[in-house]
């Protein structure tokens, strides 16, 4: 199935707000918990209590620092999972058909029983969104919680990805990015959502919202805000007396 569908009926994906993410790693761990118990093999942890633990994670949060010419440096927390690209190179390179992009919603998945663990798809992904499981030796990646979003054993409001459901600050949004009227599409339009590495030509579905301007406080001096300034006549006590009079 490694030919990409020409179009998909919907484009389900995530919108991640870099203005709001506090870098708490909640999404990382809820993803680990859900996907350890669901969709294919559990996400293993090698040398779990040892000197060099190495586990499989489908979502990881990086932290970057941005040095700015005229303003204090910024710190940006940066969660990253599969972007469910429209032109997903990870899919087309797969020799077995294990990797595929679903025609109905655009979700990119790995069918683990077909995966030979060649690792080529992970190489093809510019974003580091695929990890080979250390124990099972099959390729793991974000499933967009395909086994939650359609899961009729869950209550309707729970049919969203585990990471979105858990994000305490509400920095993660899930929806159909092919529908210009969806909440996520509106958010992307309103906040200038962008693609990661557009030059790689992958046409990611997931979008990122930029951090808002930082350190822009430019309120003028208090003195200009108050008339008449207390210091003007009779000093502070004079002002106090006049003001109390008016109360």
């Amino acid at each position: 199935m490694t030919c990409l569908p020409k179009t998909t009926e919907r484009k389900l994906g995530l919108v991640i707000d870099l203005d709001t993410c506090v870098g708490c790693h909640a999404c990382v761990i809820s993803c680990k918990g859900w996907n350890t118990e669901h969709y294919g093999a559990p996400l293993s942890d090698m040398d779990a209590y040892g000197g060099a633990p190495e586990g499989t994670f489908l979502n990881r949060v990086h932290t970057f620092e941005v040095a700015r010419p005229e303003a204090p440096p910024m710190v940006v927390h940066f969660p990253k999972s599969c972007l469910h690209c429209d032109d997903a190179p990870c899919v087309t390179v797969c020799p077995t058909g294990a990797s595929y992009k679903r025609t109905e919603d655009g979700i990119v998945l790995v069918n683990e029983t077909d995966c030979i663990g060649c690792g080529l798809c992970a190489w093809a992904c510019p974003y580091g969104a695929r990890e080979m499981d250390g124990a099972e030796k099959v390729m793991k990646k974000c499933t967009l919680c395909v086994d939650r979003i359609y899961n009729d054993t869950l209550s309707p409001e729970d049919r969203e990805p585990a990471c979105v459901r858990t994000c305490p600050s509400g920095a993660r949004h899930f929806g159909d990015l092919s529908d210009p009227d969806s909440d996520v599409s509106r958010l992307v339009a309103a906040r200038g959502g962008f693609d990661l590495m557009p030059e790689q030509g992958t046409a990611p579905v997931n979008k990122y919202l930029p951090p808002r301007g930082r350190d822009t406080l430019a309120t003028p001096d208090l003195a200009s805000l108050c008339e008449p300034a207390p210091a003007a006549a009779g000093g502070f006590l004079g002002w106090l007396d006049r003001t109390l009079e008016k109360l």
């Binding site: 709001t20 870098g23 859900w34 000197g51 600050s169």
Partner: protein, 940 residues
């Protein structure tokens, strides 16, 4: 042509959901535990829960790995090797409980104070305190003294409540939010949810913190203040607001003691309020010029002018306040250098506070009636909210800094108004409504009252006639007169020194005192193992309850292994640290959603068992048999006052009682049916202005929070502090020792002030130019996280974050290590460059470092080999000053441990450094070796 695979889209998550309360931190979120085949399969947030509304943090989601940790203790342990070695033998519960009884019974009968019982961040303090009271020892407290007592006490004394569990910003309405010194806080998820709300609305967030990470990274404006100087910064804001007249005079007159008249005459009355014959403080009525009772109807209290009575001048509090803060000392230009901030930035922030508070005032069309009987048509709010935590409180000037912060909030009239800061029931509760501390012990008898409380003057200190402290931690002595939470961090060193007296048994619960919760960790480990000439230990006996193979375990003689949080009953009680919201009363439970698979017992039940064996009052029937089957039975049937018990919900035979009502045998089941919690919303007319709102006061009485309405005014000026200061000036019969007089006179100022931290004042910047801080990682809870296979991959070591100029000055490059030196010690750590950092500050993560052999980790674990605690550099005492005395490294008012006063010097470690220092000898693990690889999956 293509047939897509069809993955299973609708797997069943589990067979059953059990709703209980998370315990990966003190935030206490509601969780849905999905069970498969009786085993825990998946944990997610409870959407209906008032605390977290479905969200969960990393720790909460990793609860399953905590529950399955290989470091879980398996059975009671008796020490067989030397203390500290970790050599134990598993014993039966009978033997363990008999041993504990044999140790404790003689103490109770002869000298109950020789038991020191201290508990960590458990959530059953009202229970453990009650047990200790019943035992009769004065030596009980929880961990608050080293945690954030400055914050709690300053809040209570100033306005009847503080941040965190006491109150919260009005997240839905606030338009400007200032966050001081917070990395994570107890309100972890609510703060994140709140910040999310502000961000969604585009409200401005200002983060005041030397380090721009976490919450501060998303702050719109970052104020990278120099540690220990927040008080100065805040008072500069106050200076600016006063200068511009941007303060809420109406609010100050109505709700604060700003108009109270203060005696200006030298002598024993100086600084005390002028009171009428009925004891009521007086104010000057502008209309008549007379001093009248503060609550007289139809008066116009003056804020500027005083009265003269019998030659004695009495000036209003506000006048003192204005005189002090309008002085040039607090002008932005004059504080800028010390705070590490440009003066224009301070002015801009003051202006923004003023602009939002007064130009963006909000109103809610909700009539309400105040305690004077006046009805207001609307609720008017000043939508500026603030929140602060240990960055301001964990300094030796922290109490006064917290006071200054509350002063700022009150001056703009934002507390308890829409958009401002709101109390959570059972707060507000002024100091007068809290108990006084007690230490009256008699062999064989209960203590004469609750251990902890809020002293209102020297008469409430717990000292004997010679001025000696009555408590082992010296709480409520002249060393720390208002130490409302006790001083857990002083217990081991005082017990080791036999000062003020020797103890026999140290009983600790859930506190890693041999490691990350102690200052001066290496030496504390020595104190715990130190022996007398005859080979006996200086601290004769140590009993400890932990659930995991922690560092502290190695130092105990008897271990009482606890269950994990999914295996026991707990109650998050209104008597203790409840989970209320600003708009609702709420409490919750934990219950055994799975049964333990090891020979462990819930500690609270064990304590009740022990209490029954010792025949403690309240724990046995008249015939001496145990009164409570277990903790669940206690939760259901114990009454603190008639009709008031550990849980407020579903009381009475019908289960309809709210707050008050007879015990209900089905109460816990009702909680379980209700998702593990109970919530009761405050009526809309009672939602704001709670300290003065008649409807709120009546509602609070109905719910059993107060026994009668307790309206009160905010204490801009703290008369109890003035009383301590008067004593230091030589007035009154209880007198501090001479060496403390000057310090008390300076620091017990009844109006907020700033002074440099003791360490800063004593440190030559040439020797120790840098401040060193720790921060809590959001994905770890103190030492617990490292046993969690998922979490330890996120934070497995402690790099030292170093600002760009220090990086350059020391020619650091990636992969280098640094040596960090304080007057007390030296540690080595790998370095990482961070630019978004106050240039005079270095920092690392708190409590990630582990002793080799602890927590079931391999000795090569990076937690042990690439990590170190700053605690090795922090002493509980300040360096000697040559007067023969060592001063505590604590706040002089509350005794709060001054973790963040630390000053250090940095050097590049010699090339080839690859292991952190100090490297303590490994402890023998109290548990079997863990599995190597995990592929955790519960088959249904």
């Amino acid at each position: 042509m293509f047939s897509q695979p069809s993955p299973e889209l609708c797997p069943k998550v589990g067979d059953e959901i059990r709703k209980t309360t998370c315990y990966m931190c003190a935030c206490r979120c509601g969780i849905d535990v999905h069970l498969k085949d009786g085993k825990v399969a998946y944990i997610e947030g409870n959407r209906d829960h008032p605390v977290n509304r479905g969200v969960l943090c990393a720790k909460g989601s990793a609860g399953i790995m905590q529950h399955l940790s290989p470091a879980r203790l398996r059975a009671p342990l008796k020490r067989v090797g030397p203390r500290g070695s970790g050599e134990f033998e598993e014993i039966s519960w009978d033997e363990a409980l008999q041993t504990a009884t044999d140790w404790l019974r003689p103490l109770r009968e002869a000298a109950p104070e020789k038991l020191a019982f201290f508990t960590g961040r458990d959530q059953s303090q009202s229970f453990t305190g009650w047990w200790a009271q019943s035992f009769g020892t004065p030596n009980w407290a929880a961990h608050g003294g080293f945690c954030s007592v400055n914050m709690a006490a300053a809040g209570i004394y100033t306005m009847g409540g503080s941040f965190w569990e006491f109150g919260q910003p009005d997240w839905d309405r606030t338009k400007l939010f200032l966050l001081f010194g917070v990395a994570e806080d107890h309100d972890s998820n609510p703060i994140k949810m709140g910040l999310g709300k502000l961000k969604a609305r585009g409200a401005r967030v200002i983060g005041v913190n030397p380090i721009r990470s976490g919450y501060n990274a998303i702050a719109d404006d970052w104020v990278g203040i120099t540690p220990g100087t927040d008080g100065l910064f805040i008072l500069a804001l106050v200076h600016e607001l006063l200068r511009a007249g941007k303060i809420d005079l109406r609010y100050l007159i109505r709700y604060t003691n700003a108009p109270y008249l203060v005696n200006a005459h030298d002598g024993p009355e100086k600084g005390l309020f002028l009171r009428g014959t009925d004891g009521k403080p007086l104010v000057r009525d502008r209309r008549t010029g007379q001093a009248v009772a503060w609550d007289s109807p139809d008066i116009s209290p003056d804020l500027g002018n005083g009265v003269e009575i019998g030659g004695v001048t009495h000036l209003p509090v506000f006048r003192h306040l204005a005189d002090r803060y309008l002085a040039d000392d607090y002008a932005p230009e004059n504080v800028a250098e010390r705070c590490g901030l440009p003066a224009p930035r301070i002015r801009a922030i003051a202006a923004e506070i003023a602009r939002v508070a007064f130009d963006e005032e909000i109103t809610i069309d909700q009539p309400w009636t105040d305690f004077r009987g006046v009805t207001h048509e609307q609720m008017v709010g000043r939508p500026v909210a603030m929140h602060a935590m240990r960055g301001v409180s964990a300094h030796s000037n922290g109490f006064q800094t917290c006071r200054a912060l509350h002063l700022l909030q009150i001056l703009i009239g934002s507390i308890e108004t829409p958009g401002g800061f709101r109390f959570k029931p059972p707060y507000p509760k002024p100091p007068e409504a809290h108990p006084r501390p007690h230490a009256g012990f008699t062999p064989g008898q209960p203590l004469d009252g609750p251990h902890l409380g809020y002293p209102l003057g020297p008469e409430h200190l717990l000292i004997d006639d010679a001025g000696r402290p009555k408590r082992i931690d010296k709480a409520f002595s002249w060393d720390a007169p208002m130490s409302a939470h006790g001083l857990m961090h002083m217990v081991i060193s005082n017990a080791h020194a036999g000062d003020p007296y020797e103890i026999d048994t140290l009983f600790l619960y859930m506190a890693n005192m041999a490691w990350n919760s102690s200052m001066n960790t290496s030496q504390v480990m020595e104190m715990l193992t130190d022996q007398n000439d005859d080979g006996s230990y200086r601290i004769p006996r140590i009993i400890y309850s932990d659930a995991y193979s922690s560092e502290m375990v190695a130092f105990a003689d008897l271990i009482l292994p606890d269950t994990t949080y999914l295996e026991r009953h707990d109650c998050i009680s209104l008597l203790d640290r409840p989970i209320c919201e600003a708009e609702a009363l709420a409490d919750s439970i934990r219950w055994p959603v799975v049964a333990p698979d090891r020979d462990v017992r819930p500690f609270q039940s064990v304590l009740l068992d022990l209490g029954a064996r010792l025949g403690l009052p309240g724990m046995v029937h008249e015939d001496g048999t145990a009164k409570f089957r277990d903790y669940a039975d206690y939760i259901t049937h114990h009454e603190r006052r008639p009709g008031i018990g550990p849980l407020a919900g579903f009381r009475g035979a019908e289960g309809a009682g709210k707050g008050r009502g007879a015990p209900n045998p089905d109460q816990i089941d009702r909680y379980i049916e209700n998702g593990g919690f109970w919530i009761d919303h405050i009526p809309s007319e009672a939602q704001f202005f709670k300290p003065w709102n008649a409807a709120y006061q009546d509602w609070a009485v109905a719910r059993g929070l107060y026994d009668s309405p307790q309206p009160y005014l905010f204490n801009l000026y703290s008369e109890p502090m003035r009383k301590f200061q008067l004593a230091a000036e030589g007035h009154g019969h209880r007198q501090p020792p001479d060496h403390l007089r000057a310090r008390l006179t300076q620091t017990m100022d009844p109006l907020p002030l700033w002074y440099p931290t003791f360490t800063d004042a004593e440190t030559d910047p040439a020797d120790y130019p840098l401040h060193a801080l720790t921060q809590r990682p959001m994905a770890h809870y103190h030492s617990w996280g490292s046993q969690n296979a998922w979490l330890r991959q996120i934070h497995g070591h402690t790099p030292l974050y170093v600002a760009a100029d220090i990086w350059a000055a020391h020619d650091f490059s990636e992969g280098d290590w640094a040596v960090l030196t304080s007057p007390h010690g030296r540690i080595t750590l790998p370095v990482v460059r961070m630019d978004a950092l106050n240039p005079r500050t270095v920092w690392t993560w708190n409590a990630i470092a582990k002793r080799r052999g602890a927590w079931a980790l391999d000795p090569t674990a990076p937690e042990a080999t690439r990590s170190s605690l700053l605690n090795h550099l922090i002493h509980e005492l300040l360096p000697p000053k040559g007067d023969g005395l060592r001063w505590a490294n604590s706040d002089p008012i509350t005794g709060q441990a001054a973790w963040y006063d630390l000053r250090v010097r940095i050097e590049k470690a010699p090339a080839g450094q690859s292991v952190s220092y100090p490297a303590h000898p490994p402890q023998k693990a109290a548990v079997p070796r863990p599995p190597k690889n995990l592929a955790q999956h519960v088959k249904g």
